[in-house]
Amino acid sequence: MFDTIARYLKSLFLLELLGGLAVTGRYLFRHKLTIQYPEAHTPLSPRFRGLHALRRYPNGEERCIACKLCEAVCPALAITIESDQREDGTRRTTRYEIDLFKCIYCGACEESCPVDSIVETSAFEYTFERFGEHIMTKSDLLKHGDQYEQRIRADRAADARYR
């Protein structure tokens, strides 16, 4: 009996509607959190695992020594490597490919690499327009390395003390 009266009064005076409007009103004057992507970016953790890259040493020499540990550890079998002896006698890959459709961005490849060659950069804004572009070749990956080296280094430095 009492319940029925309370419900009647609530709907008569639109109390629930006003309560909802009050929330709206409160947020109307609050500081806004919407990020205007792509004009603006959310902050990223230095551990963010995005597009892969193969790094080089400061003298320009590729780091990768074709040890194939990343290939072995990759749970998605996304990495394919072929290797041979380069003219100068060093061990190098002749083919290094990552299939980004297979990759699950787990970062295991990066963890396994003994020379910090394969890394996952914080770059995540990439698209493929044609089938086949999802296979990152060695030259693509080295290009990413050159392009993002500053970021890669900064991210690794920021994370260094937790490792």
Binding site: I65, A66, C67, L69, A72, S83, Q85, T90, R92, V115
Partner: protein
């Protein structure tokens, strides 16, 4: 039997067993580096230390024989502590470059570190730095990784029988170095790769191309000599990445010849034939299989129609599998022709009626070790049959007499008692002299007519010694090698060998040339015998076939410009034949010139099949990778060809079916080399002033090994194409070393440089065969030549 206790478990082991083996019998692993069951024990690495009760210190398990009541602990704190300490010491100078090391993933040092190591090192000084010696094109060296177990040194001394490598320097500077400054020369040197427990010695052809964990291990058989070695092919995807030995105590023990180990490279040579090709009006066209097979079937039928069925013939390389041999002889015989042959490097067939049902070694391979004397006739045994030589070497080290009748004084890896170095035309006389001397000793019954032959023969001291050794031996054997088979009077030679055997009590053994030779004999790939040695209409031998007897030829796996005993005659004949089909995994310029159709067939590793080895052991193998391109297994090609030619009995679904049928056709065969000695009517009276000697160089034996680039880069693969002569012969001709000469044999002339080689018999001109440059010359062994300066 002794009663001992290992880790608290009572076991019984044989007297004299080392602890390490006793433990292995009960499934207990003791880490080791220097110990290897086939090598002498030096106990230098100390990795195998175990605790033995009542002994004050930990003992090396590899060098401590068990004793009654011994109580051994392999997992006690004392043992583990000792092992951990040793490992830390071993790793002091080890570079820890596993990521770039080819041994990584397959490395006893990695495994021992993981299982028995401590994980930390107390050593933080500089590591020793070493240069890498050049060990040739087969073995890559990374000496920084060496842990000085000396397995490699012991192998080269004890097994390979060459003193190629040793330690140099002392203390911290001690290292493995090439003693001679030259690359390794042994035909077994690749075994160092299997033996080295770390990545110090690795395979050069496979360097940096793969990782052990990506390989699938598949088994195969050695495709070259007739030894039947067990191989393990390491396969990735559709490619053979490397070959290692598979243990088989009765055959190859744990070893492999370099030829079997590295020839896989030839599978991927640039001249692999991957699409069928046909030649119409002189133009080669790549076509699909059905077109090609129809073309071939029509071509053969055409020949059959115009010239009659016996105008067809087939030549089979000694590398063909038993199934292939069986099918091709069935195809030819069902088509109505008796002409089939595989003895492409043989020239004298006069005595073929007395051939044993299949020529074989005459006993088990292991029995070779028990021989107390052997006479090898016409073979560079060490290179032709490396592992036969290895077994015989063991016999020699136990005191057996090694004797050779050859045209070149070879360098063997054991002491030889007798080395008769005479030109091939004198081999008969030498054997006769040995027979005569043997008769003088034993007085055994002379085979009829032999005394008339040896009347004019003088026995020299060397013949008497040979006879003595053979007579006095508890177990002696005469072995006929590849060159003997190519001898222009093989029949007489073989009978004289039989006579020597009869007079001395020795046995006769044959060294079949190729992996498929025995199979080809048994399946009836010879013109005078059917499967299992059955009587058939006698057809023509290969020489008669190619020199005009046959109009339509099927060639299986052979490149006749190199793979026969008389290439110039063969090429001439082939160019005149009406229709030549070459079934081959590779294509050579000469084939393109003489063939009308080229059908790509699968080489070993890509086909299944069966090989019989020289002791008559049946061994089957599977194809381990997909055939390259459009290549198909030869048995399938032959099967379809049989169907297209409307021949009955060619409906097989698998090679097993072919094998079963072949087995049935062959039936029970008892090998027997002891054929009656048919004394030749006369021995060769021909003694040319200069005589050709042209064996097949070690790595030119068959199409596959000729394409293995690393083997070709070794000294044995780079046999100079030159005329080699004794300095006395050279002086007699008024020539000087290095001069260009033209060598004429019959109608063939080639220009070659001269090399002085006092190992070559006087009166001989050594011109290697199986090479395109010398193909223009005549028969490869024997035959007069003239050498004139140009």
């Amino acid at each position: 039997m002794l009663n001992i206790q290992i880790n608290g478990v009572d076991v019984q082991v044989k007297h004299g067993t080392a602890i390490i083996d006793a433990a292995a019998e009960s499934g207990i692993v003791i880490p080791r580096f220097c110990y290897h069951k086939k090598l002498s024990t030096v106990a230098s690495c100390r990795m195998c230390l175990v605790e033995v009760e009542k002994m004050p210190k930990a003992m090396p398990a590899c060098a401590t024989p068990v004793a009654e009541g011994m109580k051994i602990h392999t997992k006690s704190p004392k043992a583990l502590n000792a092992q951990r300490g040793v490992l830390e010491f071993l790793l002091i100078n080890h570079p820890l470059d596993c990521p770039v090391c080819d041994q990584g993933g397959d490395c006893p040092l990695q495994e021992a570190s993981l299982g028995f190591g401590g994980g930390v090192s107390h050593y933080d000084f500089d590591k020793r730095v070493l240069h890498n010696p050049d060990f040739g094109p087969l073995v890559a060296t990374d000496m920084m990784r060496c842990i000085l177990c000396t397995r490699c040194i012991r192998f080269s001394r004890e097994i390979a029988g060459v003193d190629d490598i040793s330690t140099a320097g002392r203390g911290e500077n001690i290292r493995i170095a090439s003693q001679t400054g030259h690359p390794l020369t042994s035909e077994l040197s690749g075994n160092l790769i299997d033996l080295c427990p770390v990545g110090a010695l690795t395979s050069k052809p496979a360097r940096f191309t793969g990782r052990p964990w990506e390989y699938q291990h598949r088994s195969a058989l050695g495709p070259h000599d007739s030894f039947g070695s067990h191989l393990q092919l390491d396969v990735r995807g559709t490619k053979v990445m490397r070959v290692v030995a598979r243990e088989c105590e009765e055959i190859n023990e744990t070893w492999l010849s370099d030829r079997d180990r590295f020839s896989y490279q030839g599978l991927y040579s640039a001249d692999r034939l991957t699409t069928p090709r046909i030649r119409e009006k002189g133009i080669w066209r790549e076509v699909d299989w059905s077109t090609a097979l129809e073309f071939v079937a029509n071509g053969l039928q055409q020949v059959r129609k115009t010239h009659g069925a016996p105008a067809l013939g087939a030549l089979v390389a000694p590398t063909a599998t038993l199934e292939e041999s069986y099918l091709i002889q069935k195809l030819i015989r069902t088509a109505g022709s008796p002409h089939i042959d595989h003895r492409l490097r043989q020239r004298d067939f006069s005595d073929q009626a007395h051939d044993p049902v299949f020529p074989w070694l005459g006993g088990a391979i292991t029995a070779l070790e028990q021989k107390t004397a052997f006479l090898v006739v016409g073979s560079y045994l060490r290179k032709e049959h490396p592992l036969v030589n290895h077994r015989l070497r063991k016999a020699v080290l136990r005191g057996a007499h090694a004797m050779f009748l050859d045209a070149v004084d070879r360098a063997y890896n054991y002491p030889t008692s007798v080395s008769m170095v005479v030109p091939p035309s004198a081999w008969e006389r030498s054997l006769l002299a040995v027979a005569k001397a043997a008769h003088a000793i034993t007085g055994r019954a002379i085979p009829t007519g032999l005394d008339a032959l040896w009347e004019s023969i003088e026995c020299e001291a060397i013949h008497r010694t040979t006879a003595e050794h053979l007579v006095n031996a508890a177990s002696a054997v005469l072995l006929l090698g590849n060159v003997a088979h190519a001898h222009p009077r093989f029949g007489a030679l073989r009978n004289l060998a039989n006579a020597v055997a009869e007079l001395t009590g020795a046995s006769v053994g044959y060294l079949p040339e190729g992996a498929g030779t025995v199979g080809a004999w048994l399946t009836g790939c010879v013109p005078h015998r059917g499967p299992g040695g059955k009587t058939v209409t006698v057809g023509q031998d290969w020489h008669t076939m190619v020199t005009g007897g046959v109009k339509g030829l099927l060639i299986l796996g052979a490149e006749l410009e190199r793979d026969c005993a008389d290439p110039s005659a063969a090429l001439k004949g082939l160019h005149q034949a009406a229709f030549v089909v070459s079934l081959s995994p590779w294509v050579s310029p000469a084939q393109e010139a003489y063939a009308h159709a080229l059908l790509p067939i699968a080489p070993y590793a890509e086909t299944s099949g069966t090989y019989l080895n020289l002791e008559g052991r049946w061994q089957s193998f599977q194809g381990v990778v997909a055939p390259l391109g459009e290549t198909r297994p030869a048995w399938k090609v032959l099967r379809v060809l049989g169907n297209l030619m409307d021949l009955s009995g060619f409906d097989y679904f698998s090679s097993d079916q072919v094998l079963a049928e072949a087995r049935e056709a062959i039936g029970e065969v008892t090998p027997n080399n002891a054929m009656p000695c048919v004394v030749p009517a006369a021995i060769s009276s021909e003694t040319p002033a200069l005589e050709r000697f042209g064996e097949v160089p070690p790595y030119a034996q068959d199409a596959l090994v000729r394409r293995a680039s690393a083997l070709q880069a070794t000294p044995d693969g780079r046999v100079p194409i030159a005329a080699r002569m004794h300095s006395a012969t050279l002086a007699g001709c008024g020539l000087i070393e290095g001069a260009q000469v033209s060598v004429r044999q019959g109608e063939g002339v080639v220009r070659l440089p001269i090399i002085v080689d006092d190992r070559v018999a006087k009166g001989c001109v050594f011109v290697p065969s199986a090479s395109v440059e010398t193909a223009a010359l005549g028969p490869v062994v024997g035959g007069a030549v003239t050498v004139v300066a140009v």
